[in-house]
């Protein structure tokens, strides 16, 4: 459990654990200041555009099509590609697989969708802020994740205006009233859950309290951004709803311009017993069983409560439950976890592809999409499901089978014998999986059968 105590390095690791970052285009550099990141993207793609303009001599229509596929699409896909690749290579080739699984969990807990709000540049910084909070207190993670530029934009807090604020009466502003989207999900998804019994009035009050939290627009924006983490988050007092607020019976009083209230609220939400239960149940469901025993949930919740929401204690409690009781249950892997396990097990080189060449070649985000879990684009703010029923269907199994065969085709280091030995360890020597693999006609077939077998699907 030592690996849960400190945040492991995040990098483009190869199989030997060396970074391949130096071999990647400049836009693969992890820059969490999105203003600087945008500059890097601009510079690279502007240079590429110039090269194309100089070399192409073709009809306008063809040229425009080429520009769309060679410049505009990759420009938009590059940050998503970068962050999907670095996360996957760290999970596959890094040394702290357990930590990485918890990181996937928290990124999904604070899910954002880049296509819903055009926030590709904010997605990586959002996830890395969460990562940096995984060895501290949940209260810190909650505050930083909810006030990250990605979340403020995705759940429309950037559109919300206190109806009695000075800004509400400014005809030059596009918005003049409340948007309660983030307020509701902060209570429902990120912290206490509906089990806490809050009302519509609590949702409205939370949304009022959240008004003013917005995102720095880049050069030319006179508003000052918050320093990192969460570069770009700003508090705009002129649109903050004035006055005290009450959420679930607790009063919040503005000091100065009112920016103090969010931190006070998220601290109280993090300390609420319903949050401990909600997080514990969700973790137990993700790591232990679709319907975890209440004892396990209670022990995890207790570890959280007794340590004031300490993340290391929380994660350790989950690991203890899995070690003690995991054998009694089976968990169907999510596509994301399955793909990572498949690469780890086979040692096949991760097909990272490239966002360039028009996006019309396979790249890692597209593979995630085909197996059903495109990381940057969950359909809804509750993220992806951990439940077996959501991942078991003919089409879902077929997609994993197809991808398994592709992995087998490039798992050059493996022999059928080695795959058979792995199957013996995984499923037991008497399992019907073992002869199936040992009699396979080829390595790709043996790998596909292993990776799509029920035993591997449920590790």
């Amino acid at each position: 459990m030592d690996q849960l105590r400190s945040v492991p390095p995040l990098d483009f690791f190869d199989k030997k654990g060396n970074s391949i970052a130096g071999t990647l285009p400049p836009y693969a550099k992890l820059i969490d200041n999105f203003e600087e990141a945008a500059k890097t993207f601009d510079t690279y793609f502007t240079a590429k555009t110039k090269r194309m303009l100089a070399s192409k001599n073709m009809a306008n229509d063809d040229f425009n099509k080429l520009m769309a596929s060679e410049i505009f699409l990759p420009y938009n896909d590059a940050p998503i590609w970068r962050d999907t690749v670095v996360n996957t290579l760290t999970a596959v080739n890094g040394k702290s697989g357990v930590f990485e699984r918890f990181w996937m969990f928290w990124c999904n807990h604070f899910a954002v969708a880049t296509t819903a709000a055009d926030i590709a540049l904010y997605w990586g910084p959002h996830m890395r802020t969460i990562r940096d909070r995984m060895t501290g207190k949940f209260a810190d993670m909650l505050y930083d994740a909810v006030s990250s530029p990605a979340m403020l934009t995705y759940l429309n807090n950037t559109d919300s205006v206190g109806p009695h604020s000075r800004g509400a009466h400014d005809p030059n502003r596009p918005q003049h009233d409340l948007n309660e989207n983030l307020g509701r999900e902060l209570l429902e998804l990120h912290s206490v859950s509906p089990a806490a019994g809050y009302t519509q009035a609590d949702v409205t009050e939370t949304a009022m309290l959240l008004t003013g939290w917005r995102v720095y627009a880049g050069p030319g924006d006179a508003r000052r951004p918050k320093p990192e983490p969460n570069f770009g988050t700003i508090f705009e007092a002129v649109i903050h709803e004035p006055g005290p607020r009450t959420v679930m019976g607790k009063a919040y009083t503005p000091k100065g311009d009112g920016r103090n209230m969010l931190r006070e609220l998220t601290d109280d939400l993090a300390a609420h017993p319903a949050t401990a239960q909600h997080l514990a149940a969700k973790l137990a469901r993700a790591f232990l069983a679709d319907t975890p025993p209440q004892d396990s949930i209670d022990r995890i919740a207790k570890a959280y409560t007794e340590t004031g929401g300490d993340m290391v204690a929380l994660h350790s409690a989950v690991v203890e439950e899995v070690l003690a009781h995991g054998q009694q249950y089976s968990k169907m892997t999510t596509p994301q976890n399955w793909l990572i396990q498949a690469y780890r097990a086979t040692g096949a080189r991760v097909a990272i592809g490239s966002p360039e060449r028009g996006g019309n070649v396979e790249s890692l985000p597209l593979i995630y999409k085909e197996i059903g879990q495109i990381l940057n684009d969950p359909a809804q703010p509750n993220g992806y499901s951990d439940l077996k029923a959501d991942w078991l269907s003919k089409a879902m199994l077929d997609r994993r089978t197809r991808q398994a065969y592709r992995i087998g085709s490039v798992a050059f280091d493996l022999t059928v014998e080695a795959i058979g030995a792995y199957a013996e360890r995984l499923a037991g020597i008497d399992s019907s999986l073992v002869p199936m693999i040992k009699r396979a006609e080829s390595r790709p077939i043996a790998v596909a059968v292993l990776l799509a077998s029920p035993q591997f699907l449920k590790i």
Binding site: A116, L155, N156, D159, P163, A168, P174, Q175, H176, D177, L178, N179, E180, N181, R184, E188, P194, Q200, V203, S330, M332, G359, N360, V361, E362, S363, L366, K369, E370, G372, A379, Q380, N382, K388, A389, L392, S393, K394, A395, M396, L397, D398, R399, T401, R402, A404, Y405, R406, S432, L433, M436, E441, P444, I445, A448, V449, A452, S453, P454, K458
Partner: protein
């Protein structure tokens, strides 16, 4: 970027054999409600996010509407009965109405006022009012009772269809399929595991066909709702194919920029319905119903960002050649401040489960008592009998 599915005609004989096998396996259709079961078809369109019924079908005759929605009223509304109008994107749905094939219900929803997407969607799919208490969907239970097959044009099988072992999902992929030897072996392994058994047998027995969707699509090309609707039509038009198809659309949660978003989303749905009607063919269309399902409606007043927040009452659309006539069914709750639920939402005055219960009986031939007991419990609303 185009997506094309394997043409289903070339598979008709094999599809027929497969259908026969499935029917034998599942038992013959339950004909307890004798006489009504025919060759009805049903397309269910899920509209996730909470459909703003007042954008899709504005009550222009209610003086309370305009003042509260200064930025949300589209130009070029399509005329209905004078009191209601349709969003200009809904041309195919409007055509259906003009041709005696459109039934619209307004001020309707599930009796759930919690305003949570996730609880709301659980209820709309399970038909059970306590969230997260059922792992089967009302449509899945209906299929189980009728013995018919269903197909979801969605990647995971949506909860609404679960509970029915043969429900399958089809969605195009560019990843090519491995040799049959892989499916043969996996079929045996999957058969040994209770979780994978129902799917393993299907996959192994028809590796290249039904897994299918051996669609040739470009790598990474977006999957268009129209393509899925076309596939639904090709499946449902087969004489021995599935009777029920589900389209699963998301994005109706219009907290901001609703005019633009709804023009796009409603066009997408309306185009999909148009393609579906065209592709299923005149004969099958006569026996077809298409119905929309959403988790809740939205606030009557627009919010600060040209959008609306989570509410309660919405509208539901039913179109299809199997309708007896066109009409609008509503107990209009009104838009005066005192008429709104908690001062903000359009009220539900018609329990939408009554509509779905009637559709289950009409399309799948299930006895109303069984519908009430096992599938979707709801207050009886005789008004739907005149249309469906």
């Amino acid at each position: 970027m185009t997506a094309s599915f394997e043409c289903s005609e070339s598979l008709s004989r094999r599809s027929f054999l497969k259908a026969t096998a499935v029917l034998t396996f599942a038992g013959l259709p339950n004909l307890s409600f004798a006489g009504e079961v025919t060759d009805r078809r049903l397309l269910v369109v899920l509209l996730r996010g909470g459909l703003d019924g007042l954008s899709a079908m504005p009550a222009i005759g209610d003086p309370g509407l305009k003042g509260r929605r200064r930025h949300l009223m589209p130009d070029g509304l399509l005329k209905l009965d004078g009191f209601f109008a349709l969003h200009p994107s809904l041309v195919n749905i409007h055509d259906a109405y003009d041709n005696g094939q459109g039934l619209f219900v307004h001020g309707t929803s599930f009796p759930y006022t919690g305003r949570s997407h996730f609880e709301g969607q659980d209820i709309m799919e399970t038909g059970v009012l306590k969230p997260y208490s059922s792992n089967t969907g009302w449509l899945g239970r209906a299929l189980d009772a009728s013995g018919y097959r269903a197909v979801a044009l969605a990647l995971p099988v949506p909860l609404i269809l679960r509970g029915h072992a043969t429900a399958e999902s089809r969605y195009p992929t560019w990843i090519s399929s491995p040799p049959d030897a892989v499916y043969d072996r996996l079929g045996k392994l999957w058969a040994e595991d209770p979780d994978t058994a129902p799917f393993g047998a299907q996959l192994a027995s028809n590796a290249t066909e039904s897994v299918g969707m051996n669609a040739s699509i470009d790598v990474g090309s977006p999957v268009d709702m129209k393509v899925l609707a076309l596939q639904a039509a090709l499946q449902l038009r087969e004489p021995n194919g599935p009777r029920v198809a589900v389209l699963d659309d998301v994005g109706f949660d219009s907290h901001a920029s609703e005019p633009n978003e709804y023009s796009r989303l409603l066009s997408e749905i309306d185009d999909a319905i148009g393609i579906f009607k065209h592709s299923i063919g005149d004969e099958a269309w006569k026996n077809t119903l298409v119905v929309t399902v959403t988790e809740f409606g939205r606030t009557v007043a627009e919010n600060g960002s040209w959008g609306t927040d989570h509410g309660w009452g919405s509208c539901a659309f039913v179109v299809g050649g199997a309708l007896k006539k066109s009409g609008i069914v509503t107990d209009w709750p009104g838009l005066k401040a005192a008429d709104l639920f908690e001062g903000r939402d359009l009220k539900m005055t018609i329990d939408v489960r009554s509509l779905y219960a009637r559709i289950v009986t009409a399309s799948l031939g299930i006895d109303p008592e069984i519908v009430q007991r096992d599938i979707i419990e709801s207050p009886k609303d005789d008004r739907f009998d005149a249309y469906i």
